[in-house]
C-alpha cells in the first residue's frame, strides 16, 4: 500500500513539474527572456581589444571596458558606432540590431583593431 502511495506521489510530482515546464516554456534556471550570451564584454588592456574578434547574436549589447592606464576609444570603421574617449575604468556599450561584420579601432592608437561579428 505504501509503495503504491509513493509511486503515485512521484508520478503526480513529475506531471506537475512537466506542466510547469510546459507553461513557462523555458528552462527553469533562466531569469530573463533573452537567449544566453546576449551581452558580451570586451576588455581593453595593454593596447589590445580582448577578445579581438567577438561573435554575438542579433540584438546583443557589447560593452567595452578600458582597463589600461591610457585612454582609448572604440570606433567603427564604417561609422556605425563611436565611443567617447574612455579613460581607465570607463565603459562604452552598443547594441547590435543588425547582422553583419563590424570592424572597429582605437582612433588614438590606430594599430589597435577589433571586430564584432553579429549573426
Amino acid at each position: 500500500m505504501k509503495r503504491n502511495s509513493f509511486w503515485l506521489a512521484s508520478f503526480t510530482a513529475s506531471v506537475f513539474i512537466a506542466i510547469v515546464l510546459l507553461v513557462t516554456g523555458s528552462p527553469v534556471v533562466t531569469a530573463s527572456d533573452q537567449p544566453p550570451a546576449a551581452n558580451a564584454a570586451v576588455n581593453i588592456d595593454n593596447f589590445v581589444f580582448g577578445p579581438q574578434t567577438i561573435t554575438v547574436p542579433v540584438g546583443a549589447t557589447v560593452t567595452w571596458t578600458n582597463k589600461d592606464d591610457i585612454p582609448h576609444t572604440s570606433v567603427s570603421t564604417d561609422g556605425v558606432f563611436k565611443s567617447k574617449v574612455l579613460d581607465t575604468d570607463e565603459k562604452f556599450s552598443y547594441k547590435f540590431e543588425k547582422a553583419g561584420t563590424y570592424p572597429y579601432y582605437c582612433t588614438i592608437h590606430p594599430k589597435m583593431t577589433g571586430k564584432v561579428i553579429v549573426q
Binding site: 595593454n46 592606464d69 579601432y105 590606430p110 583593431t113
Partner: protein, 340 residues
C-alpha cells in the same frame, strides 16, 4: 674655419673606427647614456664631443642661437610612474630657465594634455608662462585631438596654421616646419601626414636654397621605429623626399617617450624624452604604455632637449639632458656624477 672642422670630424671618425664600434653603434650607445653630450651635425656627419663649459660663450656669436624641445607633458595623467606630471613639467621649465645660454624659444612636440581637457591646457599654459623663453611653438599629439578632432588645440595654439595645424617659420636663417601627423588616423595605420599637408610642404620648401638648414618637427616619429606599436608615419617617405636636397636637415619628434636617433645622409632624426613618464624600449614590454620605474629613478628618465645652431658650421647640436642630472653645462667635463 670649415676645413678645421672637417679635420676634427675625420679625427673623431678614425677614433671611432679604432674602437671597433661603428658610427651607428656609437650613436645607439650614446643616445641611451642620456647625459649631456653635444651632437653636432656638420655637413651630414655627426660628431660628438663633451659639452665643454665654454659652450655658452659660443652661442653668443652673431647668428648663433639655441632653442629647447620639450615633449609629451601629458597634463592630466596621474598614474604610476608619475602621479604629478605638472610638477615634473615645472622641473623641466626650471631646468630651461637655469641654462647658461638663454634659448630663443621652446618647441613642444605634442601630447600637451592627456585628454584634451580645457583644464589640462590651462595648467600647461600656466606652467609655461614661467619659462624664460616666452615664445613657444606647438604641434599636437594624438592626446590633444580627443575633443572634436583637435578644434580646441587649434583655437589655443593654432593661430596662423593651416589644416590640422601645420606651419613654418624662419629664425636667423634656419627654416622650421611644424607638421601634424596625428589627425585622421586610419584603422591599422601609424601616423599620417595626408595629401593636403604634403602638397603644402612641397610648396613651402620650393625655391629655398639647399644651404638653408631645415628643422622639421612633428609628434609621431617621421621614421619607422616600431610599426607594431604605431611608432612611425605611413607617408613620411614623401615628406623626406622633399628635404633630401638640403645640406642640413634635423627632424625632431616625440611620442615614444625616450631618446632615439638616426642619421641618414644629411638628415638627422631625434626623438625626445617626455616630461611626464617613460615608455619601454621597442618590444621589451607587452605594450607601449607608461613604464613604471622606482620614484627615485623618475627624474633620470624624463628630460629636455637643447638644440644649438652654430652659424660657423651651419650645424645644429642636439643635447639631451635628464631632469635629474646635474646642469647640462657641466655634464661633459665632470662625467656628470649623479647627485649634487
Amino acid at each position: 674655419m670649415t676645413d678645421k672642422n672637417k679635420d676634427l670630424i675625420d679625427q673623431k671618425l678614425q677614433d671611432l673606427n679604432n674602437d671597433g664600434v661603428d658610427r651607428r653603434g656609437f650613436l645607439k650607445c650614446m643616445a641611451w647614456a642620456g647625459t649631456g653630450l653635444v651632437w653636432t651635425m656638420s655637413g651630414g656627419i655627426p660628431v660628438s664631443r663633451a659639452f665643454a663649459k665654454g659652450h655658452g660663450k659660443d652661442a653668443v656669436k652673431g647668428g648663433d642661437f639655441s632653442f629647447v624641445q620639450i615633449s609629451d607633458s601629458h597634463i592630466g595623467f596621474n598614474k604610476p610612474a608619475n602621479p604629478d606630471v605638472t610638477a615634473t613639467l615645472q622641473t623641466a621649465i626650471n631646468k630651461i630657465n637655469a641654462m647658461p645660454h638663454k634659448p630663443e624659444f621652446i618647441i613642444h612636440t605634442g601630447d600637451l594634455s592627456q585628454l584634451s581637457k580645457p583644464s589640462e591646457f590651462d595648467t600647461l599654459d600656466q606652467v609655461l608662462k614661467g619659462a624664460s623663453a616666452k615664445q613657444v611653438y606647438y604641434v599636437p599629439g594624438e592626446h590633444d585631438m580627443l575633443s572634436d578632432n583637435g578644434e580646441q588645440f587649434l583655437q589655443r595654439y593654432g593661430k596662423g596654421t593651416k589644416g590640422s595645424g601645420w606651419y613654418s617659420f624662419d629664425q636667423k636663417g634656419v627654416h622650421f616646419v611644424g607638421l601634424v601627423n596625428v589627425a585622421n588616423l586610419k584603422a591599422g595605420g601609424m601616423g599620417s601626414l595626408g595629401h593636403e599637408q604634403l602638397e603644402w610642404l612641397e610648396d613651402d620648401l620650393k625655391g629655398r636654397s639647399a644651404s638653408t638648414p631645415i628643422v622639421l618637427f612633428a609628434h609621431i616619429p617621421l621614421w619607422t621605429i616600431y610599426p607594431d606599436w604605431g611608432w612611425g608615419t605611413d607617408d613620411s617617405e614623401q615628406a623626406l623626399s622633399y628635404v633630401k636636397r638640403f645640406g642640413s636637415v634635423t627632424v625632431l619628434n616625440g611620442h615614444i617617450h625616450q631618446i632615439m636617433q638616426k642619421v641618414e645622409g644629411k638628415v638627422s632624426f631625434h626623438t625626445a624624452m617626455s616630461t611626464a613618464f617613460p615608455q619601454p624600449a621597442p618590444g621589451t614590454a607587452p605594450s607601449a604604455g607608461p613604464m613604471k620605474v622606482p620614484a627615485d629613478q623618475l627624474q633620470k628618465v624624463l628630460g629636455i632637449t637643447d638644440v644649438n645652431y652654430l652659424v660657423s658650421g651651419r650645424s645644429l647640436a642636439v643635447v639631451d639632458s635628464p631632469l635629474g642630472e646635474s646642469d647640462a653645462s657641466s655634464a661633459g667635463s665632470g662625467g656628470g656624477a649623479g647627485g649634487r
